[in-house]
Subunit: 134 residues, 2 copies
């Protein structure tokens, strides 16, 4: 079912410092920061030849990544995003298999403007997994 | 400098269960388990169209991922591996920039039979980074 690894999201406490690490230390191509107030994050995209790293930092008072950074104040990998062809079919498959879809269990529009699901880390070997309709 | 994301390594306490999650629940193509005694892990490769996930579990009494799993008993993303064209040049660049190369600071042969470096998470936004000569 899953296709490409769309991105690896890394939550960071200092977006400017993390961007400099990827741009200057590792020599990667990075985007300008993009505020996504409806998702509670500011994002910088690190463009690699085959996929993206997304550096994310909290935006606003109720960021969904605030609790992650409280537990991991230096930052770390927050989630992996895999592409799927049909998000509704993916949601049904997950539920039929007993895997927990976060939120109300239905796809919602994600940070790229496409429908996504987030899946419970305890059902995916300790990793928060996002599925995005490609 | 960095090129492709070669793989995302996920440390897991139960390799069979994690393999089943990726194969059966997520519908991905997975390899047979491969023991790498010189690296202290057993690995399953999850083949995606653009990159790989490597599921790793401890092998032997002195596995380098044992302490990670002691802190994160359900598993989680252990490291990201980026490809570089010249591992010796990468090592020099990291040291010149003040980034800590783990071990004795020199490239060694990694799990794929190619020279690699591991870089200190505190110098890379909280993420353990591996560089592998492509």
């Amino acid at each position: 079912m899953i296709g490409r690894l769309n991105h690896v999201a890394i939550a960071v406490p200092d977006l400017g410092a993390a961007t400099a690490i990827y741009r200057d230390r590792l020599g990667a191509t990075v985007s300008a920061p993009l505020d996504l107030p409806e998702h509670g994050v500011t994002t910088v995209f690190v463009e690699l030849p085959n996929t993206k790293i997304e550096l994310i930092t909290p935006l606003g008072d109720a960021s969904p990544i605030a609790s992650f950074l409280a537990r991991s104040p230096e930052g770390g990998v927050h989630h992996l995003c895999f592409e799927v062809a049909d998000i509704d079919a993916a949601a049904e498959r997950m539920k039929a298999d007993g895997a927990r879809v976060l939120g109300d269990g239905r796809p919602r529009i994600g940070a790229h403007g496409k429908p996504v699901l987030f899946l419970h880390p305890k059902d995916f070997a300790g990793t928060l997994v996002e599925l995005e309709e490609a």
